[in-house]
Symmetry: C2
Subunit: 139 residues, 2 copies
DNA sequence: ACACCAGTTTACGTTAACGTCAAGCGTTTT
DNA sequence: AAAACGCTTGACGTTAACGTAAACTGGTGT
């Protein structure tokens, strides 16, 4: 075992380009559970919490709410899942995966549409330039 | 030209599973510009506005803010873009496309992680079931 | 000892994206 | 004509996700 690389809240915040407040808020919402040193004095974050936080931020960028993200995290938290609800967890996970697939599809669709427009526009732009070039020659 | 199939606000809302209020809000934010019959009396929506609205909703599901969505829409609105800013539009469009690609990547990444967990869990679940089966046999 | 820094809690403020409700208007059904 | 229906414009309420400011605490350099 290596001595765990624990970092402070502001250090972690800076690393991930967010504010300490945001991190505390996520803890308040039950998304993070950092080490509270000696019965309250400071929070310290190890690699596990960092990984979670990165997951949270990714989820946010992809349009999931904190509530949804919490569900996902809780779902795959072995400690909490404790046997009993294994089947549920698996079922729920499949549902989430289907949702993800839908989102990826939609994302790809949107990309296609943007690409279409982009093509039209670049064509148009090219025409304009050609025209300007001709005018320049005529001068 | 077919007589345009114009529909009322609540009709369109119902079709897309949102409320009229939402549609009005999007108009207020400059995302929609429906026909206002006879100098104000009712809004009517044709296929163009419907298409826009669908784009907006898709954008929302994918984690874009209304402001970002407005930028995209305005960007590719030929009427507004009116020549002058063609180059900017194209450049901005490329930026958006890169962002989209990043999001698709992240989405795929997230899917991969969830799949990993899912696999672990289904394996675990299978083991449990096997065990239970054995116990049953031993009885 | 004193100042300073980094962290803490508490609490109120803010913004986006609507929800909700009131009051009024135009048509059409009874 | 009265009532009902659907739409309209305010205008205020609500929720999520933080921002921000105040007041306190615990170590650290000088």
């Amino acid at each position: 075992m290596v001595g765990q690389p624990l970092v402070s809240i502001s250090s972690l915040a800076q690393e991930l380009c967010i504010t300490p407040r945001t991190i505390r808020y996520y803890e308040e919402m039950g998304l993070l559970t950092p080490v509270h040193l000696e019965k309250m004095s400071q929070r310290l974050y190890g690699p596990r919490e960092r990984a979670r936080l990165i997951l949270i931020l990714r989820g946010k960028r992809l349009g999931f709410s904190l509530a949804e993200i919490k569900e996902m995290i809780d779902l795959y938290d072995i400690d909490r899942t404790e046997g009993l609800q294994l089947e549920r967890a698996v079922a729920y996970g499949e549902k989430r995966l289907r949702e993800l697939d839908e989102k990826i599809q939609e994302m790809t669709l949107l990309k296609g549409e943007l690409l279409d427009y982009q093509q039209q526009f670049t064509d148009l732009l090219k025409k304009c330039k050609d025209k300007n070039a001709n005018v320049a020659v005529e001068d």
